[in-house]
Each structure stands twice: as structure tokens, then as C-alpha cells.
């Protein structure tokens, strides 16, 4: 029994000794297994975090010209994410792996971007129809490409070039082919009507520019980086650059074909309007279309002023003599008609107020100054009354023409001053005409020049009581019908109001002259006998009779 137990114990001991090693080994292996499992998990987690799935890989690589889809952008986003996250690894002791992954991702990113760029580029190349279908995928592509400024810019350039061609073709079609069945008719059919022709071209371009801007805004609506607005303006400038030449050639043709001052002026206003309208769309940056329109505006304006100056110099070349009725000459009437038409077209023009005002000054000085000069020169050989009447008539015509328009106040004021100066002349002429005819002119002169040391007035030749009495008879007949003593010239005045004014003012002068004569005769120092019998009307009575 004891030996049996002994034996068993020793055998157990032996077995224990034998398995001890195995157990230790198993435990070791188990631990190893666990450790490896964790490692595997870590490795998987690592891979899923830092590597792409095979699907993602294939989406990114695709074929060279294969389509780009939504999943492409997702995969691309992942690559970007991994590239960012891998930086954490670099801070740990896994630097080698980190660097490798980083390099791998960088490489993948570059090829993906390049593929995306090629796709977007070829996509843009197809956008040459008048209708421009920008797919959401292309919009997304632009969003992705903004991370690679060079590729982004090249794609935009490609887009711009395609659209530029489309716009040029559309413009030429509108010019030469028109709508379906010829309605609307091709714009060039209206080339005989310069304003319509130029207006239709500019309106077409305005609408095309607005549409192109919308296309660009759709294309870049997901782009978040700074300066998108500038991008749009820049590309828009490129797109609209193509039509500048055909536009310029046509407008120039219209301008140099001498359509006349009024049309030139209207065209110049139209160009100004479209410059303003288009700058609202393309912004104020350097833009070839805007520059072209501005150039054409400047040219048309220059031609317009040339035309006006030519007209003016023709006026000065052959100055007409004033007609017998002292009215305005044909040249004056014709120029005023032109001026009226120009100002009227300005009035209805679409140009903003301040620009209009600036133009007016120039137009007026270009047309009015030579006109004034012409009138002065042609009046220079006339007698005083004739000259004054003629000038008043001419100035009056100018004034009534200008009065219809805005911004002419200064000119009107100037004309008014000139008219008043000539009116003064006419008032004096009329007054002395009356005094001469009534025989009072000599006596009035004597009184004015008389000095007390010359002795009493009565002793001056022809100033005696009898002579005065005789003159008063004549003066009385004038008082009976004041209208009978009117200068012939006054009947030629175009304005009845001015004629009335001259009549009133001159009558007042006559009254004043009579008052002075009356005072002198009544003055005892002048030794008239019975002065009341010589001048039996008081100045007050004369005034009443004449008013």
C-alpha cells in the first residue's frame, strides 16, 4: 500500500515535472496569442484609419479618361483626411510608418487631383454650345480643385476659352442668322438704322454677359477660398473678350460713316449707357469689353464734336448779311434746329444726370459760341439801331431755344445780359428819336450843357420863349399820339414783350427830359417871361398823358 502510494506520488511528481514545461509553454502561447490578437486589431484599426479600401483606391485611380463621380470626391476626401491624421504618427515612435503613409497619400492625392483636373478640363471643353450645362459634378470638381490653385486656374481658363468661343459664335449667329425662320431678323439687317443696329448688338452682349456670369456663379458656387469674385470677373473678362473685335469693327463702321451730329450724339449716349449697365455685371476691373465700349464712346463723342465744330467753322466761313427785316439768318435758324435736336436727344438719353450736365457745357460752347460770334460779325456793318435790333432778335431766338432744356441756366443768364445791353441801346435810340422829332432835342442839350456863368437861358440862341413855344406845338402833337413816333426798327423786333419794354423805358426818358426842361424854364434865374404860358403842361401831366 505504502509502496503503491509511494509509486503513485513519484509518478505524479514525474508527470507534474513533465507537464510543467508544457503548461508554462501553453500559458506563454496563450498570452502570445492574445497579444497578437490585440496587435491584429490595432493593425486593422490602423489600416482602416490610414489606408484606403480597395474600392476607394479603384475609384480614385479609375481609368485615365473614366468618369468622375460622387464617390470619387468621397475617396479624395479620405485621402486628404489620412494625410492630415498621419501627422499624429510622426509624433509617436512610429515615424517610419507615418512617413511612408504620408508619402503614399501625397502621391495618391497628386495623381487623383491630376485625374480630376484632366476630367474637368475635357468636361469644360465640351461647353461650347449656347446653352451651358454645368453639371453638379463639375461644380464639385471645382470645389476640390481649389486646393490646387494651378489646376484650378487652368480649369477655369479652359472653361473661359470654351465659353468665349460659344459667345462669339452666338453673337455672329445673332448678327447674321437671326431667330428661327428669320424672326427676330438678323441684327445686321438693321445696319441701315445706326441707332437700332448698335443698340441691338449692345443689348445682345448685355444679356450674354449676364448669362455667362450666372454660369460662372454656378460653376464656382462651392468654392470657398478667397477671391472667387475676382476669379469670376477675370474669366468673364476673358469670355467677353472674343466679341470685342467684331463689335468694334461694326460700331466703328457706323461712326465713321458720318451719320450726322444728332445720330452720333445718340450713339455716344447709348454707348455710355451700356458701359454703365455692363460695368454693373462685370465689375469695374480692367475688362476688354468695357474698354472697347468706352473707346467707341470716346470715338463717337469725338466725331460728334468734330461734326459740330465743322458746322461752326462753316458758319464763320460765309457769314450772311442780316436780312432787311433784321430777323435771324437762315444759318442761325438751321444751327438752332440742330442744337435743339441734339439737346432734345440728350434730354431723352439714358445717361445719368451729372454726366449729362458735363456734356451740356461742352455742346453749348461748341455750338453757341461760334453762333454768337457769327451774329456779331454780321451785325458789325449796321447802324446802331439796326445792329441792336438784329442782335436782340438773334439772342432772343437762342434764348427761347435753350430755355426748353435743363442745365442751360448759366447760358440763359449770359444771353439775357447781352439782350439787356442791346435793349438799353434801343431805349436810348428811341428816346432821342422822339425828342428829335418833337424838336426838343436841341433845347434839352442846351439845358444840360448850360452853366450859370453863361447868363440866363433865355439869351442863348434859339432858346427864347417863342422858339420854345413853337417846339411845344410839335411836342403836343406827339403827346396826342405817342405811338406815331416809333423807330422803324422796333417793328422788326420778334418779341412783342421786348418792344413794349423799349417803348415804356424810352417814354420814361422823354418824361424825364421834359421835367428837366420844365424845371429850367420855371427857374427865375433863366428870366423867361410868363413861363407858364410857354410850357403849359406840368411834367406830371405829360407823364399821365404818356402812360
Amino acid at each position: 500500500m505504502s509502496t503503491c502510494c509511494q509509486d503513485m506520488t513519484s509518478r505524479l511528481k514525474a508527470a507534474k515535472e513533465q507537464t510543467q514545461d508544457l503548461i508554462v509553454k501553453t500559458t506563454k502561447l496563450q498570452a502570445e496569442n492574445q497579444r497578437l490578437e490585440v496587435k491584429a486589431q490595432v493593425a486593422n484599426a490602423f489600416l482602416s484609419k490610414f489606408q484606403l479600401t480597395s474600392e476607394e483606391m479603384s475609384t480614385l485611380r479609375g481609368t485615365r479618361e473614366g468618369p468622375v463621380t460622387e464617390s470619387f470626391f468621397k475617396a479624395l476626401g479620405r485621402v486628404k483626411q489620412i494625410h492630415n491624421d498621419v501627422k499624429i504618427l510622426l509624433r509617436t515612435n512610429q515615424q517610419t510608418a507615418g512617413l511612408e503613409i504620408m508619402e503614399q497619400m501625397a502621391l495618391l492625392q497628386e495623381t487623383s487631383y491630376e485625374r480630376l483636373y484632366r476630367w474637368a478640363q475635357s468636361e469644360c471643353r465640351t461647353l461650347t454650345q449656347e446653352s451651358c450645362d454645368i453639371s453638379p459634378v463639375l461644380t464639385q470638381a471645382m470645389e476640390a480643385l481649389q486646393d490646387r490653385p494651378v489646376l484650378y486656374k487652368y480649369t477655369l481658363d479652359e472653361f473661359g476659352t470654351a465659353r468665349r468661343n460659344a459667345v462669339v459664335r452666338g453673337f455672329i449667329d445673332a448678327l447674321t442668322r437671326g431667330g428661327p425662320g428669320g424672326t427676330p431678323r438678323p441684327i445686321e439687317m438693321y445696319s441701315h438704322d445706326p441707332l437700332r443696329y448698335v443698340g441691338d448688338m449692345l443689348a445682345w452682349l448685355h444679356q450674354a454677359t449676364a448669362s455667362e456670369k450666372e454660369h460662372l456663379e454656378t460653376l464656382l458656387k462651392l468654392v470657398t477660398m478667397q477671391g472667387v469674385e475676382e476669379n469670376i470677373q477675370e474669366v468673364l473678362g476673358h469670355i467677353t473678350e472674343g466679341v470685342c473685335r467684331p463689335l468694334k469693327v461694326r460700331i466703328e463702321q457706323v461712326i465713321v460713316s458720318e451719320p450726322g451730329a444728332v445720330l452720333l450724339y445718340k450713339i455716344s449716349n447709348l454707348l455710355k449707357f451700356y458701359h454703365h449697365t455692363n460695368s454693373g455685371i462685370v465689375g469695374n476691373n480692367a475688362n476688354t469689353l468695357l474698354t472697347t465700349i468706352e473707346e467707341m464712346h470716346v470715338l463717337s463723342k469725338k466725331m460728334f464734336f468734330n461734326n459740330l465744330s465743322l458746322h461752326a467753322s462753316k458758319l464763320m466761313d460765309k457769314i450772311e448779311l442780316p436780312p432787311p427785316d433784321l430777323g435771324p439768318t437762315a444759318a442761325l435758324n438751321q444751327t438752332l434746329t440742330l442744337l435743339r435736336e441734339v439737346l432734345a436727344s440728350h434730354d431723352s438719353s439714358v445717361v445719368p444726370l451729372d454726366a449729362r450736365q458735363a456734356d451740356f457745357v461742352q455742346v453749348l460752347s461748341c455750338a453757341l459760341d461760334p453762333l454768337l460770334q457769327m451774329c456779331t460779325v454780321s451785325a458789325s456793318n449796321l447802324g446802331t439801331a439796326d445792329m441792336a435790333t438784329y442782335m436782340v432778335n438773334c439772342l432772343y431766338m437762342m434764348k427761347t431755344t435753350l430755355a426748353l432744356f435743363e442745365f442751360t441756366d448759366k447760358r440763359l443768364e449770359m444771353l439775357q445780359f447781352q439782350i439787356e445791353a442791346h435793349l438799353d441801346t434801343l431805349v436810348n435810340e428811341q428816346a432821342s428819336y422822339v425828342l428829335t422829332r418833337a424838336g426838343l432835342s436841341y433845347m434839352y442839350n442846351c439845358i444840360q450843357q448850360h452853366k450859370p456863368e453863361q447868363g440866363p437861358l433865355v439869351n442863348i440862341p434859339s432858346m427864347d420863349g417863342a422858339s420854345l413855344k413853337a417846339a411845344m406845338v410839335q411836342f403836343d402833337s406827339y403827346l396826342a399820339s405817342p405811338d406815331s413816333l416809333l423807330m422803324l426798327q422796333l417793328n422788326y423786333l420778334l418779341s412783342a414783350t421786348l418792344k413794349e419794354h423799349i417803348f415804356k423805358q424810352s417814354t420814361e426818358l422823354v418824361c424825364r427830359a421834359y421835367s428837366e426842361l420844365y424845371a429850367a424854364v420855371m427857374n427865375p434865374a433863366n428870366e423867361y417871361k410868363e413861363p407858364g404860358a410857354i410850357l403849359h403842361r406840368s411834367p406830371q401831366q405829360v407823364k399821365t398823358l404818356l402812360s
Binding site: A174, P180, G181
Partner: protein, 234 residues
Amino acid sequence: VKSRINNMYCMAVFTLNAKMATAPYNYSYIFKYIIIGDMGVGKSCLLHQFTEKKFMADCPHTIGVEFGTRIIEVSGQKIKLQIWDTAGQERFRAVTRSYYRGAAGALMVYDITRRSTYNHLSSWLTDARNLTNPNTVIILIGNKADLEAQRDVTYEEAKQFAEENGLLFLEASAKTGENVEDAFLEAAKKIYQNIQDGSLDLNAAESGVQHKPSAPQGGRLTSEPQPQREGCGC
């Protein structure tokens, strides 16, 4: 490897087409509209109400032309309306005339409280007929329908005028928004109908309609890849 790439390619094409069928382009057509009519009838207010869904109380006079856009839906098709709002003042007539060209639809507006604006319609209609293409859809709109008390033009006579001249007709109010939506939609429906029955030729220049060629047409969904899209770009 080659066959695998091919498979991938096919998958990619499939994905793209599915996407296109469910979410095609932002819109399938662009219709160009023009709004015409006397000064002060509320052309700009109609446009503003339509695009912003708001009434603009103190609307300044339009200088020349302005434009607005909105995407609408007709028979399940997304259509982008590009609307050119013209100035009613006579002095802008020379400028605004140039904008009729290539319009698919014209909204001819008068003010139901001012007979003179109604009386001028024939002159506007003459312009519209002469300056647009024969297929241009013209809709007559009597605006300010909210001012019933001041009405100067009856619904019946305007309706008759519209019928005699083959125009669509509605009374609307830019202030309350009544019928504004319909005014733009009715015209679009008619244009779309013209496209469907083939009387409007989309290929002709300046038809006023631009078609997005890749969008599904007439309810039929495209199943094959669009050659222009996937085709090689070189």
C-alpha cells in the same frame, strides 16, 4: 487586371447614370422672358414678387433694363426663367426694344385702374409681334387686381382682347401676390407644350429656350452613358 479595370469602369458609369437619373442638372431648360408695358403698371414689382416673394412698396423707375432669375417646375422639369424687366418710360423705348430679341415669353402688363395703360396695349403688342419670334408666348397681365374699387378696365373686355389676339390672360396683384406665380407659370407651361408638340425648334438660334442636352427628356430616363460626358476629351 484589364478586365477588372473594365468592371470598375462599368460600375462607375452605372453609378453616374443612377445619379443623373435621380438628380440631373440644376435645371433642364432656360426660358428667356421679357416684361413690357407702360410706366408704373408694376412690371418691376411683379418680378420682385415672383423672385423674392415680397412686395416692393417704393419701387424706383427702372433705368433701361434689369433682370432676375428663378427656377420653376413644369411637368416635373426644372426650368430656369431668365426674366428681363424693361423700363416703361417712353424715353427708354429705343433701348428696351433691343431686348425682345430671342424671348421665349413676353409678359405684357397693364394697370386695371388706369385705362390709358390698357389703351396702349396694341402698341406694345405690335412691338412684341415685330421684335420677337413667331413662337414667343405672350401673356397679358392686368396688374393691381387688389384695387377693385378703382377698377377702370373690366375683366371681360381684357379677356376678349386677349382672345382676339391669341394671348394668355390673367389678372394679378404684385402687392398681394395673387396670381403672380401663375402668370409666370402659365407662360412657361405654354412654352413647354410648344416644345413637346414640336412647334418650337430648340435648335434654331435665339428661340429663347436653351435646353440642357443631358437631362432626361419627356419623362424618358437616359440609360446609356452620354457620349459627350464620358467620351474621351482628346
